[in-house]
Subunit: 434 residues, 3 copies
């Protein structure tokens, strides 16, 4: 039952460095950028790469054409690339169809997107399901455009191909699964969602090295269409998901946010709530709403899976969101590490959250003769352990998990768990087989 705790002090930096490697790649919901990203993940964990053909029906949706892009620019009359995809892949609206034309500023304007409030940032835009094209640029760049004719080039392809996603299944003692899902479809944006991809990857790497009660399934999927494709392919086996979490936006300096599952108060919700409550860090727990990330799909009514979403700053609530401001300066190793630690603590809690039966349920067992009671006097630490033991004994009636005991006693789960271990060792508890 012993599960080794994370020892590594370098996990934050390791995650950050991994994100730095993935940052330049131009990803979208399909295409080679996703494949390249998944191959880099494979260098750390042996994920399986799935290819779903374009035009396949997945529930109400159809897998779109595959989009790839080699180059794109706007050249002025001097032949200078004043907007250049090679500088930032955010410059091109995602899924832009190929274009090779000339336009005067007046015509071009409707294909250009900026953020006047943040004149140094390039916005991030896509148009997956409506064929169009466009360029994103800083508002400063936009203001420097003149009333001249520009040469426009988007050297992209939009053809039948595949949608690609990665999956890593770690078998445990039970076929019941914990799902960790992160979206992998954003180009050079760090918090959203290279941070989630990195956290999932390093979590998987860590969990692979230890014994597991639950099986763990890691999904690296394009947002929306990717999780829908996975659910369509795994409609029945998705029922094995006992707990799940979508991980995104976990590298910024904001306070932690846990968004509950649609069901609202299931074990994963309570587990994240407990870990955050005892984390000594700022956090908020928010109710489910059918918007945000792939929890929208996992929590659709026919699935209604117990899947929440773990973030730092909430989706869309920071100005860098979906702009070039969401870069390698915005995320930091220490924030990534804290997020990793809370996720790992929560998953460890789920692994350890068993139900026990007090073997001496009539009155208290005599802890003293077993050396489990403080001698005369006693320090605060001992008193805390003693109280935890008394709570575990009192509530181990077959109806309370250790988390339930931690919640009712307002004692951190770890202390309750250690008390249960001691009592188990002394034969005072027995695990209830589920």
């Amino acid at each position: 039952m012993v599960i080794s705790e994370l020892k590594s002090d370098t996990v934050g930096t390791d995650m950050y460095n991994f994100m730095a490697k993935l940052y330049p790649i131009c990803r979208s919901i399909t295409g080679n950028g996703v494949r390249e990203t998944l191959r880099k993940i494979q260098e750390l964990i042996p994920i399986k790469i799935h290819e779903v053909p374009s035009e396949m029906k997945v529930f109400d949706w159809t897998v779109p054409k595959e989009w790839n892009i080699r180059d794109a620019y706007i050249k002025n009359t001097h032949g200078e690339r004043i907007i250049d995809f090679k500088n930032s892949n955010l410059h091109v609206v995602g899924y832009s169809m190929p274009v090779k034309t000339k336009m005067v500023l007046k015509e071009l304007r409707e294909y250009l997107f900026t953020i006047p409030e943040y004149p140094d940032w390039i916005p991030y835009r896509t148009s997956y399901y409506k064929e169009t094209w466009g360029f994103c640029l800083t508002h400063k760049q936009f203001l420097e455009l003149h009333d001249e004719e520009y040469e426009i080039c988007i050297d992209s392809t939009l053809e039948n191909g595949h949608l690609t996603y990665g999956e890593y299944y770690l078998e445990g003692e039970s076929t019941e699964e914990v799902l960790i899902s992160s979206h992998i479809c954003h180009p050079s944006l760090c918090n959203d969602n290279l941070s989630g991809v990195a956290l999932s990857t390093f979590l998987a790497k860590h969990l692979a090295s230890r014994s597991r009660r639950y099986s763990f399934r890691f999904l690296f999927v394009p947002g929306t269409i990717g999780s829908i494709a996975w659910l369509a392919a795994n409609e029945d086996s998705a029922r094995n998901i006992k707990h799940g979490v979508v991980v995104t936006g976990v590298g910024d300096p904001g306070p932690f946010t846990y968004k509950k599952s649609r069901q609202g108060d299931v074990e994963i919700d309570r587990a994240f709530g407990h870990v955050l409550k005892h984390s000594q860090q700022e956090f908020k727990i928010i109710d489910f709403f059918p918007y945000g990330y792939d929890e929208r799909q996992y929590c659709s009514p026919a699935f209604n899976l117990p899947v929440g979403c773990f973030m730092r700053s909430s989706h869309g609530e920071y100005p860098e969101y979906h702009t070039s401001g969401d870069n390698l300066d915005f995320v930091q190793p220490q924030y990534l590490k804290e997020s990793f630690s809370h996720c790992l603590k929560t998953l460890t809690l789920l692994e350890r959250n068993k139900v026990f039966l007090n073997q001496n349920p009539h009155c208290e067992p005599q802890l003293g003769r077993r050396g489990l009671y403080r001698a005369i006097g006693g320090q605060a630490e001992g008193a805390k352990r003693e109280m935890a033991m008394l709570w575990v004994l009192n509530l181990s009636d077959g109806h309370h998990t250790l988390l339930g005991i931690a919640e009712r006693s307002n004692i951190p789960f770890d202390v309750v768990y250690e008390a249960a271990e001691v009592l188990l060792d002394h034969g005072l508890l027995k695990e209830v087989n589920a």
Copy 2:
């Protein structure tokens, strides 16, 4: 399914003018004043008038004798009518037996009632079940009485006759009913309860003109004995009442008050709560208590009907209550109109509060290809509609009414309803047959 919204801007004034017509009539729990009032209502809606004979047993009660009054006065030694029923029907204690006598002030005093705190107002008093008589006068009038002999006359009759009430049944698609009840037994008092009578009448007039899912039953009854007589006569069919509200005191300037049904959190309670919460006006929701108006009878334990009470200022909590201060200056068209509007909104909500089944419950349906998703960018209004559609889809699992969805999402019912209509039109929802 489309239900036309109230267009009339004049409903407040219409109600007020109708009250002004009813104001001079001397009503009580029986007698010609009630009949005359009901006939005036008949000029607007085709209510049926019921006559219940005196001495009939209605549950634990007996229908009292019928009371009528032609004249009443106190004359001084100069033969001047110093208190005159013709000036205000409040001057006579309701149900006063006939009197023709002379008394010196000392004797007369115990038959006189005033309000020293409000020396300009005549109090309203009755004595239905104990035969006596009395006069109500302003405290100023009282102070002007001298130690002389007065001539007392109450030209009333108290004889076997009938108790009269009005009923209007509007058939709907379902035999399940919505009850709207108002008491009609008070003489020249406006807020209590010509305001409730007028609101019920105009609500009935409005509902008669539109298609209805529920049947609606409007009762215009003398307080207590009238609702008891109706329940005694309709003991079985009262079970058809699915939702109900007692309407009273809806013309004063006070904030809105909704008193919940005895059951406490039934659909009518939630509906009024929701409408008031989103009304941008001051209001309070109070728990049921077995005092107040006819909800006492509808919510007696053997009936326990889902009937609440809608008011502005609470029963007895304004100084004008049960005095001549509750007159045509105290109530105003704008307050009446607001009350009408909240009631109509609530009843419309009940009519529209259905349960739907998402026809694509596996993941979200693709709203974009149906033109239901904002294009690139998008305004706040569009975002709100989109969220409402996502909520309706997510919770239309057969277990949530539209009101349940509005409550959980904290979105006004109207927005949720419109979203459901759009989804229905696109075949994404189907109504659940109850």
Copy 3:
């Protein structure tokens, strides 16, 4: 159904005087001090004294040897008793084994216990399950010790014998029981727990004199091992306990504390909560935790009895706790009397907390013709009674106890009870046979 209320104004003084008689006796979890105490209780109520032999197994525990002590002292080289058991029985660590030796201060020091923060108080220490010995003294006494050789004597015996407890069973109409338990194992300490012993005794004396719906069981037991021994001997019949309370620390000036049973919201919890809420005195209701007094045993998972704990200042939260400061000055008759009164009110409430059926459940019965309604006008007192009657009628549907009605209406139980009595007298209610 009439139960006479406490008339005695002297109960606080009576309890105090009884405590003064018990104060000098040296009690422990076994031994003649307990027997002598129980005999003094027998002078007031006819309790039965039980003797449980040493070495008997009681669930996970073993009844310990019996401890008795005649004398104990520390003498200096002049032969003066500088610490003398005859001055205070707190001077000897409870269950100290016999000792007759000489020691220099350096050796002796580890057998001495003081409270440096309160240099005038002797601490209270025991060592029941580990054979050792020791002296408790004031810190002032400790500072006066010199580096000389002391003569140590503890003239105690620790031999097979018995554990002694007292039990008083008052038969009522029903075999369902109310348990009142107090621990009797502390030597010269007043609040903890001669106060509880005295309150139980006088409560028993009072209840013996009146008719009883429930049976009442009073236990005077050594803490922990005593309640365990009782539960072991009464494993099956303990199921008769419908309500229970551990009484301790009820003579100090602190605000009232009621600690709920493990089940959390059972009738005894609600009853104490209601009485304290309407007491106009400061109080707090705390949740169950598996520490404190014998509720730990009664609420162990296999019993899970509805037993709470009634105190003034909470266990361990006042400096005098477990010191010689917990003496006859610390407790006062007025505090004892208030505690007695709240306990008696709560037990009386339980006795009276029945379920009735409104005999006229269709609409309100006509209270007026029965003289139960105020005439014209009416005072506040009458209005309160009237409201209580209307509440009782409205909620007497077979599903609400009188306490449930008092809670929902926020009317003190006594007023609700009196209203029910009046309605019963008029045939408007009928008791529901459980």
